[in-house]
Symmetry: D2
């Protein structure tokens, strides 16, 4: 790339950032997370066209000021930027690459932002197809959960070119408090699944340590204080303690309701596991954490917050 | 206990704290940690009598101003407070309870502080014997390693009566920067082994996450930055990164030399495992971490810092 | 040892074997297993004196023809051979080495057979004390469970001298179908805990494989047939299938009742784990199996047969 | 399907079985396994046309009497039955479903046999495409390894209709000693990956048990004898012992060369893991076994027989 091109492009970045806007925004996938994200865009003054396979989900966001569409293709045609927030690999793949999908319907130059949490290779496959059609694609999965989506305090972990990241930044920050550029296409997904694998490991580790201490006679509250000022210190112990009553606002204090469900962290661990297998990366604790959460799902805990592991290993012997 | 007694005792506490001192201190076990701890007591003006089974270890501390003794019994006879810093359960048990050990030799009222990391039930056994002989015993294992011992920045995790803890506090803080009262006898040990189990889990988790990210194309430095501001945040990632070169002062940047050895964390995990088995507490990740460190020892890594797990799972395929 | 001594000793062996008998037998520990074992000795014509801390247990065996005793010491005094069948390390240790225990009460030359499953180092400690007092000790834990005890089809895994093993053989075979000499003192225990660790691993492995196949659409009965003629073949699949209804006589076909309880295999895994920690032997799968059974106990399955793992990982999601 | 059709078809089966033959056979994938399988078909009198991306591999089988082809399409055009033996999912998928692949080139009615070990969903995808084009497809992965391929003693685990299985049986048995019908399409793959997962678990379990026993003082040969007549009995202990020298003909007695490589069992465990994730089936031991073999590959053991786990956990501490 010649220096003039670089210069011209960087001008573009600056201009785009100063404009701080896209006029027409498309949004596909209006579930728990997506609905709040779309509504926050509306609040910030964006014009939204939205679609979901569930009509009620469309009505919900239309009532907040969006225009409803009858298909993915209809959303795609008139958007300068388009966000997708879908459950799994196959939904994302179909939404982008089917004959009536985003890639064949969108206008050249449209910026596509996939905020679903999926396998990074799927993001890379889609990005290639998008590029062939003159579209720009970034992966931007989020952390912060439903609460972060509602309060626009999500963190976006973004994979894609620096240019596209800078172009999307202001827009993304309308739905969250932070956007981090992680690297090329797929690296947003990688950042998310690696962080969440570590989160799962930490939460189980904290639960094992606190339960062991308790069984040995050490008050979990005191042990928590010690851990939080020692080398075992981690987010799961400091901010999101699995011990009921210790931190009033977290799910463990609400019978493990709300928060980040066991089923969802198991999904992310499944993505980590598939990536680890593909690259031959040993993840002994990550794999075991995955299996523990799968077993908990088999015991009916899929809908509870993932900190319910603390309760799960404490169930008293009933025989 | 009547209120007058309580009052009298509490006066004692106040007096002891204001005196801030013991005149004669005994110290048994002058290894890597113990020698530095003893020297720090000497620097703070305590009169020390010391013993170790290794004569050179005695000479080393004598040269710093201590008086050498020929036996544990000799150290015990003339000390108001006595510290032990020994490798394993059996050494501590013998040092305290053998016929010529501390408990039979020490004067009534002596305060015994065991800073070894051992099974909490051993601490409890010794405490009972000590009490029968009119002695006071607390368990006070430390965190902070050899560097903390040298710089007097250790944290003491103390199990024993509140009264004995308060009586020992000033003294302990001559060897460290902090003393925490964890609960009754043995609870200092419990706090330490639970924290260290969590530390081992976190370190392996961080290493798995960073290596997986790297294999998927995400720079470990960037991933570390993301983790450190996300839910995966923990001491092992923030303060003691296993990635060579990221934090210049930690063992990973010095070919995994110095620090907290794989052999020592494996020892602590063994204590956690024994305690978990005894109390029927499930510790799936703790157990697996233990086995991972055992396997690493079998591969010659016992002397390396425990963050060497990062390198261990990255060894390139040589076939 | 000169050839004549050897010859004389071997004569002793032959003579003892041809006599096929001890006149007076002591038995301590009349629980589920011990009561049946004692009764089988009575049936084979041995004169028994028996003791248990539970008086009803004594009455039960006395009603089958034994003489009841008031203490361990009383049993010990008049027995030529003495069997103990007790729950855990501490019971065995106390029964043998307390002031009024077997070792101080038994006559010189008495053969002591401990059939409890305990830590091999405890067997070795007791053997040393026994030898100092002119007694002979062998460890002889059994496999075969309560059914084997009732039907006298137990296998004895024996640690001790070849001479003592040969001297005990006929006697042991009165309670079982086979006695195997495993090596020196403690090696009977080692054989048992190593075998049972492998058994636990196999049973969980079989359950995981059959459940995975089932979830993928492959009938567990067909998969069992394939496994049983392939490289996955093992006792847990062939003889003791965890699938209800496949083999009518095993616990899985009786709602996982009877058989070898989850609590007991967890106990054996705890012994394996302690031994592995002491010797620095990596047992990743053994440890994880231990934790899985501990978690199952925390969920009230301690009294069910250990093949209940199959059901445990299949529980349908109730949310 | 009417009774007459059924009858006619069953006649077809009988006729096919009595003819015991296909006149023209295609074979794609002439690696370690495929070359031997193709040669065995030639020996049994089949006319073969063969293809591989590696020309030398073609020449090798041509020299044994086959006709070489220039492409997959050329092989497909003139074959009544066609076998594929390829490394991984993507190779099989491309070979069957690309524009110049088997499905577009083969004549209606051709029987397609895929003996690769792959994800059962890939087999199912291909089978659907084949059916649309009037082709018959079965999955028939094998056990028995290179030695079984050479000696025509393979076992075929077959998924597909009973009719197609019966039609292929005689043909398959020209390359092996046994063909088992496991169920519908994909069930051959399921049987193989479930069995091999259990095999991996057993081999690691045997290695842990024998090493633990050895470290505790029990001769591995004696412990093997005990295990082989006890509840720990399994193929890995009886037939394929990981202890060097115990069974002269197995890889452990040849420095772990030959046999079933660590890299291949890791591949199969990866398939099991992906299937388990997709179906939400907990496989704690299967996952951990997978990670152990991945770690061993990272240590250069990918080319060694999978029984090398015994040596891997025994490496002496070199520090």
């Amino acid at each position: 790339m010649g220096i003039l091109t670089t210069f011209a492009k960087s001008l573009g970045v600056i201009r785009r950032a100063s404009q701080r806007d896209f006029s027409n925004v498309g949004f596909v996938g209006l579930g728990n997370m997506g609905a709040y994200m779309a509504k926050n865009l509306i609040k910030k003054g964006y014009r939204l066209t939205v679609y979901d396979i569930n009509e009620k989900a469309i009505e919900n966001v239309v009532s907040a000021g969006a225009k409803g569409a009858a298909s993915v293709a209809e959303v795609s045609k008139n958007s300068e930027v388009l966000v997708t927030m879908l459950p799994m690999n196959q939904h994302v793949l179909e939404c982008y690459t089917s004959k009536t999908g985003i890639i064949s319907a969108a206008k050249k130059g449209t910026l596509l932002v996939d905020s679903s949490t999926i396998d990074p290779t799927v993001s890379q496959t889609i990005a290639k197809e998008a590029e062939k059609n003159g579209l720009r694609f970034i992966d931007g999965p989020v952390s912060g959960g439903v609460v972060g989506a509602e309060n626009a305090t999500l963190t976006f972990m973004v994979g894609g070119s620096k240019l596209d990241f800078e172009g999307a930044r202001t827009f993304l920050e309308a739905m969250g408090s932070r956007a981090v550029h992680c690297g090329d296409i797929g690296m947003g997904q990688v950042a998310k699944i690696c962080n969440n694998m570590l989160l799962a490991i930490s939460m189980i580790g904290v639960s094992e340590a606190l339960n062991l201490g308790d069984k040995l006679g050490l008050n979990p509250k005191i042990l928590t204080d010690i851990i939080n000022t020692s080398t075992g210190r981690c987010w799961s112990s400091e901010i999101y303690s699995p011990i009921p009553g210790l931190i009033p606002t977290v799910p463990s204090s609400n019978d493990y309701n709300g928060g980040f469900s066991t089923a969802l962290i198991a999904k992310d661990l499944g993505l980590a596991q598939a990536s680890a297998t593909r690259t031959g990366s040993p993840i002994a604790l990550g794999s075991l954490s995955h299996q523990i959460y799968r077993t908990m799902m088999a015991h009916g805990l899929g809908g509870k917050d993932f900190s319910v592991i603390y309760q799960y290993i404490r169930e008293e012997d009933k025989k």
